[in-house]
Amino acid sequence: MARETEQMRAKALELQGVGKAFDGVAALEAVSLTLEKGQIACLLGQSGCGKSTLLRLIAGVERPDAGSIFLDGAQVVGPSRFVEPEARKIGFMFQDYALFPHLTVRENIAFGLKGLPRVEIEARVGEMMARIGIEVLADRHPHTLSGGEQQRVALARALAPKPVLLLMDEPFSNLDRGLREKLRHETLTHLRALETTTVMVTHDPEEALAVGDKVVLLRAGLVEQEGTAHALFDNPETLYAAEFLSPGTRVPGRVVKGAVETALGRFDAPQGMQEGQAAILFLRPHALSLAAADQPLAVFGKLVGRVFMGDRDSMTVAVDGLSEPLQFYMRGFPQFAQGDQVRISIDPAGALVYPA
């Protein structure tokens, strides 16, 4: 019993079989997830996959139909238990930042500190503003701030009450590309320094891979795959996961004598596939390159498109027997132009095979 409690305590967040339906349509089905203290998790998925709903269930602004949620070892949602959002000590950063327009930056940050002595509130607000670097904005109102400044104030406001868990709903999606990466880096630095356990929702795989200690890919209300960023990217368990995390070309094939036979050659079949079963070879751009003449596992194709993209060129190569052309990126090789015959080599480590 005592050991069990201890184990619970080590986990900052634990979801057990959480489900939610809207008007009879399931938005989430039996989602389970655990998060250690200080970890950053990314919920990744297309819009409508249930990732925002999951965030709102953890925050308590929505009630699940099934399952339990534990925060810092204490149950906040269960069959006969529901802790109101204001009692959960969770910080929430909204996509639109949700800064209170009638309050100044200082008052916004102090909002969650109500009940503390005034001196403590002032000290905490000052400390937060100094850490995030927004002291100069203290007496301004939200509508006078730029998008980046609003994002920083929202972060300071969410972190000021020292939440046990920070939830972020697409926190960088309203920013320009350059600013987005800068603020993402800044935010991560603060979260790491404060050891804040965080769950972030995003639809951008690049962002999820860059931020998350743990990445949870959701599909239609179910967890498709969960793991570290590297595990997820290198070994996507399903074709859906593979296609979501990176673009690529599908090549049809069939299992013959223990290997998948395709128009591009034979590839190792994953365990559990039957002889004669249809399969799909998924080739990501980084598995493909232009080949030197003596390389094995190389196929001939015709360069049907070459687009200069600055730091690299996008190559499109049509191969006999494939309905879709192959796509990959290269630098150099100025001798090849559209219409030329080229040799492509395939890195078998980057070739992913799935049952069709």
């Binding site: 009692a87 909204f94 109500k114």
Partner: protein
């Protein structure tokens, strides 16, 4: 069933056991309170004697029903033509004075139906200023030689109501023209439709739902009217309810007629709802670009201005100037009587109390629907705003029946326990009248609060809750401060509507308490013209405040 629903809404943490639930219970009570009058009417009508009902059905109802329907059709036609025409005029054409006309066309809203009737009875009297002027121009010297048709007629009533109620159509239709027409008109012109063809082929079909909404609002006002029809001798259902109750002391009969009237109300509301749904459909392709009006030549411009000024003149300028002149004359010779000042005090006191009640309850209901979203709270919200369509007489009757019973019970209890008679406590204190005002005007407050809240992103509520505020705290820290302008506007509208209200005030005011409106009614009914002009002028001036507000919103 209700308890399980409450339980489902029940939060189980200690921190907010009261906060969310409290709002729900309050909302439920408000909705029930608003439903009380209708339930009471049904109850009373069923308990009435059938003999009386037969008399009513044979002699009173058919005629009143026909007169009411003729009146509604007539008013509907007038407001449709005047409202749509004036809206198109100021939207489609540019001429000197157009911007002034834009807001001036709203002015008749400030004149209640009973006041325009009162003013025109005197203005158009055979010996009055208008007919005198016409005779002087034509060279007659006696009313016997020439007189206009009597204003005290169905036609007169239709015209007068039409010219003060057309702004409802003007407002809705103009909004539609401005937000919708620009792109479509350009598209139509490129497809070869002439400028003049556009009104009938594009603008009018497009504005149909907006016109229907405006007309149904005007019809609700016509149904509510008691003064104008009475002064002008049109025996509508409202008048029948009033006389059956007051003159014949037949409460059950009055309730029966009131129920018949509610049928018409339901039909009018159905038209409104249907039209609003279609309007939403039309508004789906919203375009913010405004309509570019066509500049008119000098002569045509002056003609357009003159044309546009006619409704303003009939519906506002003439009666307002008449009232101002009469009031000045009266004040110069007699000063302001203490009686009138007392009545002003009564009016302001009742209106203030009612405004406070309506604002608090309306805001409560609207916040309940926001904080506890769900079909049940939505339904409660809709139920609490039903009174806006109910004529004042019907509401008054529905309020009087249960409250008179309650008064009797309180009185008997007090006599039994303390040996004191409380008399008619609820009716005598004005509580009954404030209840009636609340039922009738709850929609204004709840609707404004709902719109005000809708402008606040729900993420702000959620942010406040994640930062430790419960449902209550979120209301006071976020929703209330951010919707203050909307609530202030609602307060003004409710206050002025209470000041202007005649039928319910007439029937439910405490004994010997007169307000400005009932004073005017009494004088007009007696045919004496003393201080009523002063009272009427005060009401019209108060009525100008919301019009100014409306004009400012329209310009933004």
């Amino acid at each position: 069933m209700t308890t399980t629903l409450i339980n489902r809404l029940k939060p189980s943490s200690a921190a907010s056991i009261s906060s969310g639930r409290l709002w729900f219970v309050m909302g439920l009570l408000v909705a029930l309170a608003v439903m009380v009058p209708v339930a009471a009417l049904g109850f009373e009508a069923l308990g009435g004697s059938m003999a009386l009902w037969q008399h009513l059905a044979a002699y009173v109802l058919p005629q009143a029903l026909i007169e009411t329907l003729i009146l509604l059709c007539g008013v509907g036609l007038v407001v449709m033509v005047v409202g749509t025409g004036s809206a198109w005029l100021v939207t489609a054409y540019e001429f000197p004075g157009r911007r002034v006309l834009e807001w001036a066309l709203l002015l008749p809203l400030a004149v209640p139906t009973y006041i325009i009737a009162y003013a025109y009875l005197d203005l158009l009297h055979p010996l009055g200023p208008v007919q005198g002027l016409i005779r002087a121009i034509l060279g007659y010297d006696s009313p016997r030689q020439f007189r206009l048709p009597d204003i005290r007629s169905m036609a007169g009533c239709i015209l007068l109501l039409g010219f003060v109620l057309y702004p409802y159509v003007y407002i809705t239709t103009r909004a539609m023209f401005m937000t919708q027409a620009a792109n479509l008109v350009e598209a139509a012109r490129m497809l070869g439709v002439s400028r003049s063809g556009i009104f009938f082929r594009i603008a009018l079909p497009l504005a149909r739902p907006a016109i229907a909404v405006g007309v149904s609002l005007a019809l609700m006002e016509s149904l509510n009217d008691i003064g104008a029809s009475e002064f002008l001798g049109v025996r509508t259902l409202t008048i029948s309810v009033y006389t059956t109750w007051v003159t014949r002391s037949d409460l059950a009969g009055a309730a029966q007629i009131a129920l018949a009237m509610l049928m018409i109300v339901v039909a009018v509301v159905a038209i409104e709802r249907l039209a609003r749904r279609r309007q939403r459909y039309f508004s789906a392709a919203k375009q913010a670009r405004r309509f570019a009006p066509l500049p008119l030549s000098r002569g045509a411009g002056i003609a357009a201005l003159g044309f546009g000024l006619v409704p303003v003149l009939i519906g506002f300028a003439a009666p307002a100037i008449y009232l101002a002149v009469e009031a000045m004359k009266r004040i110069e010779t007699n000063g302001l009587s203490t009686r009138l000042i007392g009545e002003l005090g009564n009016t302001l006191g009742l209106a203030s109390a009612a405004t406070l009640v309506v604002l608090v309850l309306g805001t409560t209901v609207a916040y309940m629907a926001r904080a506890l979203p769900g079909s049940l709270t939505q339904l409660l919200m809709r139920l609490s705003t039903l009174g806006y369509a109910m004529p004042g007489t019907v509401v008054a009757l529905g309020v009087l029946i249960p409250l008179a019973t309650l008064d009797g019970m309180i009185d008997r209890q007090a006599q039994a326990l303390f040996g004191v008679s409380t008399g008619l406590l609820l009716i005598g204190s004005g509580a009954a009248l404030i209840f009636a005002y609340a039922v009738r005007f709850m929609a204004i407050a709840a609707g404004s609060a709902e719109t005000g809240f809708a402008r606040i992103p729900t993420s702000l509520d959620q942010a406040a809750r994640s930062l430790g505020r419960n449902v209550n705290g979120t209301f006071f820290a976020i929703c209330l401060p951010l919707s203050r302008p909307a609530l202030a506007a609602a307060g003004l509208l409710v206050f002025v509507d209470c000041m202007k209200e005649l039928p319910a005030t007439l029937l439910l005011r405490p004994l010997n308490v007169e307000t400005l409106a009932t004073h005017l009614y009494a004088e007009a009914a007696r045919g004496t013209y003393e201080e009523a002009a002063v009272a009427a002028l005060a009401i019209v001036l108060a009525g100008l405040l919301p019009v100014i507000l409306l004009a400012r919103i329209g310009r933004r």
